[in-house]
């Protein structure tokens, strides 16, 4: 029985990481109806930022996540300015394809500069530490990432629902022209949203080097999982994405343990297809 709960716990912890990665994507998708295909590569870039800070200057991921977040905010804003802005009003797929081009660019620039080798940051504060509680083992780095995920998602949700800025974001998402007539600078809002989306994934990527190896291909699977979380949760619903991410984490962990590790993503993507066919707009979509 303890094994079962341990498997569930591991699933929830990875689910929280997926939620943190998916939150930024969900925000961008909800406000601008754009899928950022380079989202996983944003994560990869954030991981490299944190890695190099740790490797060259001995900054721990517990600190350097802030730097990654700022860096990715800038990357996100630049992506909007240089690419996304020019695809608005064109076919629905053009932003997706352009950001796929961006993902190829980022991945291969890192491959070219940093080599395809796996890199691991040794001797971090959290690395390899665990807490045992009631027979369950809590790996500390994952736990801290999970707490960060919940805090970031809560802040994001609070800002969108309760502040004037959040109302402006919601208004731009609902009706761009009407929002502009109300004096909202939608251009600035979009820029901010893309920056915030980048910053969320920057936090995740900044913390990850404590327990995950870094290489140029690391983002691919996270991209797909984040897409699935957001689509499963429902269009632009951040709590939906959180719940979907937890569900996906648990399904992944259970099927990986009780069936076979190779089947875990078959189970995850199969679940997604099953749900999406019954509810084409996701679990919590409207």
């Amino acid at each position: 029985m303890t094994t079962f709960f341990q498997v569930i716990l591991d699933g929830l912890l990875s689910g929280m990481l997926y939620a943190l990665v998916a939150a930024g994507l969900s925000l961008i998708w909800g406000v601008m109806d754009v899928i950022n295909f380079a989202h996983g590569e944003f994560l990869m870039v954030a991981m490299y930022v944190s890695y190099w800070l740790g490797f060259l200057m001995n900054v721990d991921p517990l600190v350097s996540w802030a730097a990654s977040a700022v860096f990715l905010f800038i990357i996100g804003a630049l992506t909007y300015r240089l690419i996304i802005k020019n695809t608005i009003g064109k076919s629905a797929m053009s932003a997706l394809l352009a950001t796929f081009g961006l993902s190829m660019l980022l991945k291969n620039v890192c491959l070219n500069r940093f080599s395809p080798n796996f890199r691991i940051l040794g001797e971090t504060i959290l690395g390899g530490k665990t807490i045992t509680l009631g027979g369950l083992i809590f790996p500390l780095p994952q736990l801290v990432t999970g707490v960060f995920a919940l805090v970031v998602i809560f802040i994001l949700y609070y800002v969108i629902k309760k502040t004037r800025l959040g109302w402006a974001i919601q208004a731009s998402a609902m009706d761009k022209e009407a929002a502009e007539l109300m004096g909202i600078d939608t251009e600035k809002i979009y820029l901010l949203v893309f920056g915030l989306g980048g910053a969320c994934v920057g936090v995740a990527g900044g913390l990850l080097p404590s327990y995950l190896a870094i290489h140029p291909e690391v983002g691919g699977l996270f991209s797909l999982l984040a897409f699935v979380c957001v689509a499963l949760g429902g269009f632009g619903s951040i709590p939906g994405a959180l719940l979907a991410a937890l569900l996906i984490g648990v399904v992944e962990s259970l099927s990986g343990f009780y069936i076979a590790p190779v089947f875990k993503y078959v189970a995850v993507f199969g679940l997604y297809l099953a749900v999406i066919i019954v509810r084409p707009k996701g679990l919590f979509g409207w």
């Binding site: 020019n86 695809t87 352009a98 190829m104 491959l111 897409f227 699935v228 997604y272 297809l273 084409p280």
Partner: protein, 340 residues
Amino acid sequence: MLANNKRFAGKDMVLAGVIALFAVLPLIPGVLASSFTKHVFILLLLFAAMSQSWNIIGGYCGQVSFGHSVFFGIGAYGAGMAVVRFGMTPWPGALIGALLAAAVAVLISWPCFRLKGHYFAIATFAIVEIFNRLFMVWYWVGGAIGLDYSIMDQGWKNFTWYDSKNGYYYGALGLFAIIFGVVRWMEKNRMGYYLRAVREGQETAESLGVNSSRTKLAAMGLSAFLAALCGAFFAQYNYRVDPPMVMSLDMSMKFVLITILGGSGSLFGPLLGAAVLIPLQEYSRALWGGLGGGLDLILFGLLIIVVVVKQPKGIMGILTSFFRRRLGRPGKGDDRHGAS
């Protein structure tokens, strides 16, 4: 009168282009000495053919599928299984694979076509991942190791050649010609108009009596059938099949990106896209070694961004607006009309 003339001129130019293309292409192996150049041309034709098959559903019908590597892979496995497991020639395997791929495509698409836009795209990603992982552990078809061919007699019967690449070249050319012909025929046929009507507005098309779901399913089935034939060729040419080689997201994206780069929904688009990408890929590999330091993909990524942002109609769009501007100058102000 003037407009009429111009339309005729456009038609003649397409026809002349087709004739010139198919007059010159068969002569190429006689002119090229190096087998590497032949290899580049073989891949160019193959990828042009593949992307042309995607163009049917993605370009003409506007259903952007990222799942075509599944159909491509089923075709490749059809040929591979026929040769390796059953000791037959690859021909029946390719045919069965193609039919299976069409059946799988229709079965998968039937529920997925209810999904709109991004939801459809993400569902096709998920399907590729599922197929990839299932084939990785399906030991009957070789699992993660894949299927390795053993030595066979060379010739058309086994679709295998050792002395020269000419056989493969003519095979690829034949495949390209078939798919090109199918799309050309479809463009002028009722089916082509149905597809474009569904792309431009599903509700409007339905209100005019087009059965949109049947049209989309038929296009998907045809597209998957042709993509699977390309897969069978790919297996023969590489002399092996394994899941990451044929059934991966990267392979799926090649179908899409080559077409988008060249110009989706146009007859020559896939060929133009392949003519840019494949030489770039192969020569940079030859120049900088196996990984190429990723430089070819950096360049390709940049190209995709620029094309999508600046000219959504791809290279074809650039060429059309260039020629319109050139040829249309004697006309009135309407020469730029329609060129975007």
